[in-house]
Amino acid sequence: MDLVQLQRQLVEYRTSLYHEGFLDAQFTQLQELQDENNPDFVVEVVSLFFEDSERLLNELTTALEQQSVDFKRVDAHVHQLKGSSSSIGAQRVQKVCIAFRNYCEEKNVEGCLKCLQQVKHEYSLVKTKLESMFQLEQQILSAGGSIPM
């Protein structure tokens, strides 16, 4: 595939991610923060998000497996995940977190478990999509091209 085709593919892919609600305007903000002094800013922040989210999802799984669930603890983790996903523009993950927090407030274990499953699913989807997008960007850069905005 030639450079122009790659660039077109990236733009289309990125647009679809916004259309499908995987990313929102906050992700655009992140991209706008990247500059020559910090050319890897977006990848760095998103990588931090992946690490942090995986940690939180593990904590949530453990917390909800307990005989007596500590909902304050669960809520604290979801609050963190909601914050991070909001900060990078991972809209679908953030939305599940909102529902998740409501179930925490109601001390509804089943609701929480359902949300945990959903948030794991959404997280996995956005992770895959962002990784694909970064790969496309890398291909473009390796071909000597620049990333279209």
């Binding site: 906050q26 903000q29 992140l30 706008e32 923060l33 500059d35 910090n38 800013f41 760095e44 922040v45 931090l48 998000f49 942090d52 604290a76 609050h79 963190q80 909601k82 914050g83 991070s84 909001s86 900060s87 990078i88």
Partner: protein, 152 residues
């Protein structure tokens, strides 16, 4: 704060010289948010120090239990998250306003939740601004303008 202490200045207020970068202390327990706010502030030509919780922030400011003599750092603005485990941003704000040394430093509170009572509580306690997360570059620009206005 920048120069202007003694010498030519006969005013009580420390005068900021042109070219001084404001030094901002950013407090947030969320790693991603810390990285973001740091970048936003650096993009606005601020020198940034981050702290992951209120006690660490207090130490840095010289109000903590573990502050060593002679290591107190001067900051021109403190921006803190509201929801933090242990000591909240609101409690941090109170401690800063209670300090004779630091009460003049503007404090900005950030929160992902838009709760009117929370906002008025912070403003009443002396917060300069309340900002909704996630922060955008335009928010930080506004903040800096406000800060520079306070200094001049």
């Amino acid at each position: 704060m920048g120069g202007g202490c003694g010498g030519d200045s006969s005013e009580d207020v420390a005068v900021v010289e042109l070219g001084d970068e404001p030094h901002v202390l950013a407090v947030d327990d969320n790693l991603i948010d810390r990285k973001l706010v740091e970048k936003l502030l650096k993009n606005s030509s601020c020198k940034v120090t981050t702290a992951e919780n209120a006690p660490r922030a207090l130490d840095y400011l010289g109000l903590g239990n573990d502050t060593l003599e002679g290591t107190v750092s001067k900051v021109n603005l403190i921006i803190t998250d509201y929801c933090m485990p242990g000591m909240t941003g609101y409690e941090l704000l109170k401690k800063i306003k209670e300090s004779s040394v630091l009460k003049e430093v503007p404090v900005v509170i950030m929160s992902s939740e838009n709760i009117p009572t929370r906002i008025s509580e912070c403003l009443e306690e002396g917060a300069k601004m309340f900002m909704l997360k996630p922060l955008k570059q335009s928010d930080v620009k506004q903040l800096k303008w406000h800060l520079m206005e306070c200094r001049n």
